[in-house]
Amino acid sequence: MFKYIWLYFKRRPLRILAFILVVALGVGASMILGSIFLSFGETRNRISAVNESWITIQYLSSNGRDSRLDEVIEKTLSETFGFSDAIKVDIAYLSYNLFGSARANFPVYGIRQTDIPRLLRESEMQIARGTVFERDSRDIMVSGSFLKADRLEVGQIYEETLEMSTPGQYSIVASLKGPSIFGLGPAGISSGGGTYGYMIFAREGFLMAVENELKNALVEYMPSITVNGPASSIDRIREQYAGYYTGVFFVNLVVALIFTVGLTMLNSVSLRERRKEYGVMSAVGYTGGSLKVRLLIESSIQAALGWIAGFLAGVWTISVLEKRFFEPAGLFLRNDPVGSFYTLIIPLAVVLLTQFLITGHLKRDLINLLRSASREKGIFRSRFRDIRTGWLRYPVRTGAYTPLFVNVVVFVALIFFFGSLLSGLSDGIRDGGIFFENRTYVRMADGVEFPSDITSSPEVKSFKAGLEKLRIKLLFGTSSVYIPVLSPEDARALLLLNETPATGTLLVSKGLSERLEDAASLGYSKVEVSAVLKGLSGVMVASPLPGGTLLTYDTAGEAEKIRRSLLFSQTEMILDNSTFEKSYKQETQFMKLITEIIIYLQFFVVMVIGVVTVIRTVSARRSEISIRSIIGLKEKETRRMLSAELAVVILSAAAMGCLAGLTVWWIMKSIFFQGVYTSTLVSMPTALRVSLMVLSILVAGFLTVRFFASREDPIAIIER
């Protein structure tokens, strides 16, 4: 029996390889998707990890430190452990960007400079870049992953936007590296409302006991005073992960189901092809039982090899994804090889289902089994008898290219669809900020004068300006388009107009002129389209409201300089390029990640399918290549024909995929997302992605054709 199994493997290497590859793909995909879904939890886990280094006792206050609560805590600490070891802190919370809408908050501890070494040592962190913060400044040192997640650099200004954060701006002076995510800043960082408290340290192993002891001691002051440490952290993580594990379980269940069905279909085709073999073997005396055992061993070996390959590929791909996509976005992936053993369900299910299939075949009587093996289907051939184009004949008369065609259509459609989705989600935000590419709008707090030293720079021109807001529909929610209100003279100077516009004129870009349904509140009397205004932008000509200044400049670095100058000024609002850039990045980050993962995964899948299809097709046509060679057709001609076939299949599939993707998007947009702003039908990155994918498959296919066509001996067919 083993001899026949070995012979089957030896004679059908491509079929075996294809099966192993699909099992591997299923196992790998399941592992990768699981890890991606766990990445949010993993990043939150790193934020909670700081609680494993020390305990914080904290309370909320809107008017600085609460002396009564401080006294209670100090007394408890003094009575229970000795006070000398605690550090007095105030805590601000910054928002950690977990792909757009999903966000998590991490603490920034306001401490004295002398406490920095201890905190870094206890948390096993180090300063990766930059210098420590200055006293009485707005300097902060933050985790490197936070900087990556928000696309920030050391030396930049961080503007908080969420309610939970302490209002104001921070200057980032250093990035921290290590297992936790937190920040450090000078004492007093929570000036005004915020969180205040103490940090308590203990030797490793005692931290949890101290935490529990403190909780008991302060029980009567809870929830005004909270105690956070490793014990609370474990509870929180357990709570967060319970949901994640359920989600991951369902994702894996779906992936396993898809691949199990796909693989069983593949096996069913293989079994149909082998009906003759089973018929002959039954005729020479093999029992149904022995044939079933043989198939069980065959499919178990293939499934096991596929699982091992998929498992190794999954572990490798996850580490590549982490380095290529997640780390640059400030996120962490969960790479848990041991936890990935659940993927064994895919090969096991396939082996069992294959047994059911062969049982069905073997139920037929012998003659029936042999007859069914010799029936051929030829629907394609009959329909295209008169086709004149040589390189179209094989693709349309046989089904050999069908898997490649279908896969390219589906994947190109997916890229187009996701590309359009991304545009629908983000174009409004991006184009709404175009006006502020080289402009900054500043509004000071009530009663505060605009600092005159900023406008004294010859690079910067300033205009008194008000600000109006227009809402633009996005795929999920809306985006704001800010319209500066300028005096007629300033509007003329800013937009380089030949004539002074009349008061009440709304000057708009072409893009904005088409969506002024919600602009009634602006109270304009006339709308004019200005060629100077791009994207979604506009200027209202009226008497500007007090308190606002519009600054224009030519150099890109000027915006950061203006922000720095305004760091200690009481500003109510600053709008510049970075405001929109940050918002754009946050809103598109998740979609971009998903799009990129889909593209690269399908890139790999289509490439594998493409090369396997080409190898199978060319290999199945070795006889034809021999015949062509014998009757005098040159290798170049054969190669050209096979390459042309491949090109026509891939390019027509790509064209159909583009059409399908755009049609689906158009239908969805017309039904579900009416009025959503998109700047173009097909964005440049989408076109580039599709071109790159199609080109790669073509090149892989051409190389395979070249390899096979040049190696076929003309008389091989006769000798075979």
Binding site: R381, R397, I631, E635
Partner: protein, 222 residues
């Protein structure tokens, strides 16, 4: 037209060199009918493959029209086969996804001219009604006739036929031989036919027996 001088084909094995074709020297002129027979594995097909450039000899010279052809590039050999030679084998070797018409036109070097000749050839071979059929829709005899039509489409000066009747019944076999001979006679072309049975090459102008790689002319004895 064909001149073989000390041509041999050797297969190297670990222990020794086996001669598929021993030193052979012969000359063939335009319009000749050459019959080669011998038992299976005797080397008769090797001789045909060497003459038709499908295989290179281990040593010796093969001249066609006074030119040495063994040293030609693969592309030049293909060109020679396409323009000068026609092939018919035991199996028809038709391309399964091409119709009869397309299979016949496959090697055509001048498509326009070939299309004009196509009707004539198909009519001559009795295939006029089957042009749009695929090979799997034909009988063995019909398939073999399509293979002959393909061999004749470029008006070859030499036809190589390797056991063309082996898979056919006696009547069909004889018809195939008759067709090939009549074409060669009409066009003053060379017919080189290999058969394991001397009966099939009865009446050929020259006959060669191949045994253990040794080629000997036995024209008078058959």
């Amino acid at each position: 037209m064909f001149e073989l001088k000390d041509v041999a084909l050797l297969y190297e094995t670990r222990k020794q060199a086996l001669a598929a074709l021993k030193s052979t020297t012969l000359k063939i002129d335009r319009g000749e009918e050459i019959g080669i027979y011998g038992p299976s594995g005797s080397g008769k097909s090797s001789l045909l493959f060497i003459m038709s450039t499908l295989k290179d000899p281990s040593r010796g010279e093969v001249k066609y029209d006074g030119k040495e052809i063994t040293a030609l590039t693969p592309s030049a050999k293909a060109e020679l086969r396409r323009k000068e030679f026609g092939f018919v084998f035991q199996e028809h070797f038709l391309v399964n996804h091409l119709t009869v018409r397309e299979n016949v036109l496959l090697p055509a070097s001048d498509k326009k001219d070939a299309r004009k000749r196509l009707e004539e050839i198909l009519g001559f071979l009795g295939l006029g009604e089957l042009q749009k059929r695929f090979p799997f829709e034909l009988s063995l005899g019909q398939s073999q006739r399509v293979a002959i039509a393909r061999a004749l489409i470029n008006n070859p000066r030499v036809i190589f036929a390797d056991e063309p009747t082996a898979s056919l019944d006696r009547d069909n076999g004889q018809k195939v031989v008759k067709l090939l001979r009549s074409y060669c006679k009409k066009n003053n072309a060379i017919l080189i036919m290999v058969s394991h049975s001397p009966e099939m090459i009865e009446g050929f102008g020259r006959r060669f027996k191949v045994e253990n790689g040794q080629v000997s002319e036995v024209t008078a004895n058959v």
